[in-house]
């Protein structure tokens, strides 16, 4: 959709969809086969850009989950745990390669199903997902090097539940290290974004991975609960909201199940007066508007040093004018569709709260498509540390802007949150960067950059943003028993 700002009008450049293969109806991928759900239920997945139906997805119930867990256990006992580690690694390499070969298709399906701009799916989500498999494949026969003086062994069956914001990437973050460490997997994608996980199931079947090593069961919260509560699951890995993370923690209390939780955030992005401003503006935009703000580590709380606040806000508003909001499949699109009606309602609720709290709102002037779920990039200034929109995770393209004078003040404000996933710091002064990166209580700190990810780089939070790390050498320990 064209911007109202005439300088930024582009002719549409739509990605084609004729090359993608989608079935009308998807069953459950269990034990290497497509099984009809015993629930006999399917649900629709829609394109959030135009609310059109894409496919029918199976809704797994506790019986289906039980079948999946049993097949994962069988595969673990009979095949996967007995296979030499280097052979295990070669299967994971195969998956990475097959994903690379079909990356364009995966990108288009991701964009269709999740509403994310094709440019982001193509250049970020899918390559990172492929690379994650490639990276962890090589760890399979080198695990003992990562844990000096300890014996490593797999945990068994891993139950994994992933969110809708980076569907395939999250599947990769979960499956790749689990397999490399020698576990078998039952994975549940989010109900609004099952398709790329199901495409991955096809790739896994093509790779010749032994039956039952990876099982993909689709469904809703009840499906996830059945995985978490299944007595034969040894490991629970969850990415999603802090609220659900706590429910899971309660459910597995007192059991021997190992857990990693990758939860919410309200990350601070801090701009000092000596920062390279043009780059910082890009960092702010990337921090909060990347993937429509559906990013657990989004830089949703902006802190600007007081003496440059007016300039930064002016520049930011100018930059926001050139953001193209619209059809995710258009290669010009910067901000795509909100993932679901439900999420759009949540975002709008918070925008309303912000206005009612007396904050000053600015939304970029753009033509919002009539159909589909869209939210214009939104910033709020004149907010207080105690404002609801400053404290709670919105998970949308909504930024709050606060000012500060001193380093100590901004450290205190930035850390004053139950979350601790990420933070950004923008300054030209090296010693100040290290002062802040040391004192900010967050698992990932981006200095003079934001929202960068890599398979070799551990990701995960402090405090109520969850525990455990994904990615890198540190991501292995989540899937290993060390003794």
């Amino acid at each position: 959709m064209a911007s109202k700002n005439k300088n930024w009008e582009y002719a549409p450049s739509l990605e084609t969809t004729d090359h993608i293969n989608l079935k009308k109806k998807y069953d459950l991928f269990i034990n290497g086969k497509w099984l009809k759900p015993t629930s006999k239920k399917h649900f629709n997945t829609i394109n959030p850009n135009d609310e059109k139906h894409i496919a029918e997805i199976a809704h797994a119930n506790h019986k289906d989950v039980d079948i999946a867990v049993k097949s994962a256990r069988k595969a673990y006992d009979n095949v996967w745990s007995k296979m030499p580690a280097n052979e295990r690694g070669k299967y994971i390499y195969r998956i990475a390669r097959l994903m690379q070969e079909r990356s364009k298709e995966l990108a288009v399906v991701e964009s269709l199903d999740a509403g994310k701009p094709i440019r982001e799916a193509r250049d970020i989500d899918i390559p990172l997902a492929c690379n994650h498999f490639f990276y962890y494949a090589g760890w399979a026969d080198k695990l003992e090097y990562a844990f000096p003086n300890r014996k490593v062994s797999p945990l068994g069956v891993a139950g994994q539940i992933i969110p809708w914001n980076f569907p395939l990437l999250m599947a990769a973050w979960k499956i790749a290290p689990a397999l490399a460490a020698g576990n078998t997997v039952v994975l549940k994608p989010a109900e609004t974004t099952s398709l790329t996980a199901l495409k991955l199931a096809e790739i896994i079947a093509d790779s010749g991975l032994p039956d039952g090593v990876v099982n993909i069961v689709t469904g809703f919260g009840d499906t996830g609960a059945a995985i978490v509560n299944h007595p034969d699951v040894n490991k629970v890995a969850f990415t999603g909201s802090t609220g659900v993370g706590k429910i899971i923690q309660k459910a597995i209390a007192g059991t021997a199940k190992k857990a990693t939780l990758e939860l919410g955030g309200k990350s601070a992005n801090i701009i000092f007066d000596d920062a390279p401003l043009d780059q910082a503006i890009e960092g702010i935009v990337n921090g909060i508007f990347f993937n429509q703000g559906h990013v657990c580590c989004a830089g949703s709380r902006l802190f600007v040093q007081e003496n440059i606040a007016d300039r930064v806000v002016r520049k930011l508003k100018h930059r926001m004018k050139s953001l193209v909001v619209g059809n995710p499949l258009d290669k010009n699109t910067d901000v795509g569709a909100i993932n679901s009606k439900e999420q759009l309602n949540i975002i709008n609720k918070y925008i309303k709260i912000g206005i009612e709290e007396g904050a000053e709102i600015y939304q970029s002037e753009c033509n919002i498509p009539k159909k589909g779920f869209f939210c214009p990039p939104t910033i709020f200034s004149n907010v207080a540390q105690s404002s609801v929109i400053v404290q709670e995770e919105i998970f949308g393209p909504v930024l709050t802007i606060q000012t500060f004078r001193t380093v100590d003040e901004v450290i205190q404000k930035a850390n004053n949150t139950p979350y601790g996933l990420a933070a950004g710091v923008w300054t030209d002064k090296g010693s100040r960067i290290f002062n802040l990166t040391t004192k900010l209580k967050a698992g990932v700190v981006w200095a003079n950059t934001y929202n960068k990810f890599d398979p070799s780089s551990p990701f995960g939070g402090y405090k109520e943003s969850g525990f455990g790390r994904e990615g890198g050498m540190h991501g292995l320990s989540a899937y290993l028993k060390l003794s």
Binding site: I252, L261, Q279, G443, V445, S456, S457, K463, E464, M473
Partner: protein, 292 residues
Amino acid sequence: MKRVEVLKTYKIYSGGKFPRTESGRYYMAIDPKGNAIANMCRSSRKDVRNAVVSARKSLGTWSGKTAFNRSQVLYRIAEVLEGRKLQFVEELILQGSSKRKAITEVEDSIDRIVYYAGWCDKFCQIGSSVNPVSSSHFNFSTYEPVGVVGLLAPQESSLLGLVSLLMPIISGGNSVVLIASEAYPLCSITFAEVLNASDVPGGVVNILTGHYSELMPPLSSHMDVNAIAFSGLKNLKKDVDLNSVENLKRVRFYESSWNKKDAQGLHYITDFQEVKTTWHPIENIGGASSTY
């Protein structure tokens, strides 16, 4: 005529001071024959909260010290304990240990402290990494202390169990609220005197005596405690897990027999560390541009 012995009053250790429990209550420590050996403070929920405040306050000081400095402070603990060996042996015997076992326990405790003193400025080098990311960024991961740790000291031993879990936690820069063994509490308070004489800043380690059943709930549900460590008390695990949910405490449960020589290691330290990853652009590495 036989000299009248001066008996010791056992108090708690909180914020670097030795107050009595604010509740004014006591419980009796007894020897294996059932004879009373001391009046111990029966600490309260309020004592737990005060101790957490002290631990939080001292966290910055302790975690902000250089690792080399922490190493020297821990070594100092071993030095002071070595000098007071006999006192601990006597207390252990009083609580039912044989002389030979008592000596072994104290000596093992001293050695364990020296072991962790050595780790202070080394564990970070082993667990840290420079991550070779596929973009023009310098990226590294390193450890940071998890924060305030609630430690339910092992029940079965008076000194070695406590030392075996406390030392790795403080060697990594955390501060601690420790609940002593309920049945064998004597050494914990005498050990507090050792800590107090060893340049461990006040508030880094706080030691309370009393009933587990009374002190575990407020400690494990306290919103300003970041992690809980305990061992052996399997029956408490579910409650500790549940109490820890609200602020997602890291719960570490061990089944180790602390008197074994190998009941020590790097992972007891890193279990109480967070991994922090930092990114920064590199100007034009390999001709590639990071843009920002």
